[in-house]
Symmetry: C2
Amino acid sequence: VSPDPSPREVCVALDLLGGDRAPDVVAEGARLALADDSALRVTLVGPPEVTGRWAGADAGSRLAAAPARQVVEMGEDPLRAVRAKRDATVRVAARLLRDGAADAMVSMGSTGATLAAAVFALGRLPGLTRPALAVALPAAAGSVILLDVGANAQAGADLLAQWALAGSAYAEVLLGRASRVGLLSLGEETGKGDAVRREAHELCAELPIHFVGNVEGGDIPRGRRADVVVTDGFTGNVVLKVLEGAVELFEGRLRAAGVDSSAIHRTTVGFDPERVGGALLLGVPGVCVVGHGAATARSVASSLALAATAVRGSVVSRTAAALQRLVRARRERSGEKSAAGWGTDVRAWRDSPPTDRPGAEGGP
Amino acid sequence: VSPDPSPREVCVALDLLGGDRAPDVVAEGARLALADDSALRVTLVGPPEVTGRWAGADAGSRLAAAPARQVVEMGEDPLRAVRAKRDATVRVAARLLRDGAADAMVSMGSTGATLAAAVFALGRLPGLTRPALAVALPAAAGSVILLDVGANAQAGADLLAQWALAGSAYAEVLLGRASRVGLLSLGEETGKGDAVRREAHELCAELPIHFVGNVEGGDIPRGRRADVVVTDGFTGNVVLKVLEGAVELFEGRLRAAGVDSSAIHRTTVGFDPERVGGALLLGVPGVCVVGHGAATARSVASSLALAATAVRGSVVSRTAAALQRLVRARRERSGEKSAAGWGTDVRAWRDSPPTDRPGAEGGP
């Protein structure tokens, strides 16, 4: 997205204790982001004795603080930990977003915890059963948005179709134009893949999006057939990590071949975790970015920039509008269960419903 | 595998009509392979008026011919086409292997057709419900064997465990040492992934292999944690194609950055489809290699070389021996259905049993 000459002011709640190198690297990332974007404000969420080291001491009032005394560790069961810890940084950040004290939230901590905290506080967009994580990956032709990259290990055909719709809306914000959506499968022909893809293909073909049909794994780095590639979180996560590993492999080989570092940099640009900026959680009624756990300060700054871009591009309201049409069509077809009901395929969530999620939110 | 000073003589039946550039490129590949390996013989399987153009005219008696008048086209339903066409090149090649007239078969044609022809003619190894396609991929540390890369879109936990065993045996032939086997999942911790992976993890941990537990997508190009990575054919195929596309992306960027072609070559070596040599079908009682449909002559030669390596390394008998222990253990545990029965998860096969498969083969 080209930089806006007078960008809208955006406030991001930043989980100061999330990630392997918190809090120092996270706070330093906030300072970098503030230096890059004069219309950005950041609220560091953490214990006052920690946030006090940075908040208010830099960039005038643009770096604020909000108190939170607990943290969800990477080793904990995310759902259980988030439920137990009402004062966890990630939950307080989500509440700031819910209450309008922030326009977006960013965490470098556990993906599962961030997802749980966001859904507990915000609910889900009507029409979207389960949120998905979406990342923009560099491709030979432009870039490709891949979703889900790990929020849901399994996904049925209906969920894939919901994500196709949400991904399409998100891509239009990032690309500034209508986007082509593909379903990741084993071959381009309709009918390729397992039963879930075949059904998802039919559902996607009925959506008000530019659905190009099945795409293959190679279409992700190539980027010529689709701007958005939809898959389950298992496959998407594997793809993301295969690409990360492949970049490392090629970097190592390039160094061994004596290629100079500037050429190496031009080759791997965009794959650099420092610039990727993390994944956007699509499907919650608020902008929520999950950064890389091993984030550097530059990577934290990129996550904050991504959050600001999503807020300024109205990703949430555009996604909601796209989903609304789907919800309406479904309601007309059947008066059964709410389209926004909890997914039946995800036992962990169903067996342990969030206890303090505001009742009205997330409902249709 | 280091070249044997006096290698065993190997005869490979080559499907002359398989692949996008058949027959010329396929025949040319045979000639390249014969020039590389003086103990190799190739039988071109195709219509006599076509095989006659090459067979006997080169390398003395090492290039022979076998007649077959039908071909399975890429657009056809592979199972139906293979069943209908008894005289298809790929079926005749499989029969030559079954009857001992060839030690291996190679096809650049449809993967599904080759799989079907091999299973119809040869059956399956006792203990292996469904064969898997295995490829050796270059990694930062050595190479990694990935399976299944597309023979089965879906796989249950039991099938994944069978492939772990077969992959382990295959890797020992290629590596010349004990191999580490990993299960592709969303995180290294036990319990990560979907229900199928969690169950497969438990089954694999009981096998007589060096099971390292869950590995992530990045471990495939890194190669530091496992020599064999086991996954379903959907995920494996996506990974394979993502890597293919990523190599193209990096090649393009390196050229754009002005990096010289020898450095580019050193960076992408091993990923070059010309040298990969295709995938080995693990689980049939015979060496069967499926090459790349868009194969060049060099790539056809690599597929023939892979077939010869597999024959000389006794991949089939080693895999069979590894599986036999599993079969025995299962028989002891339950007297129910044969461990080699058709999988219940693959409707296409069950609903349309092969009509002319020799009865005794493939049984335990």
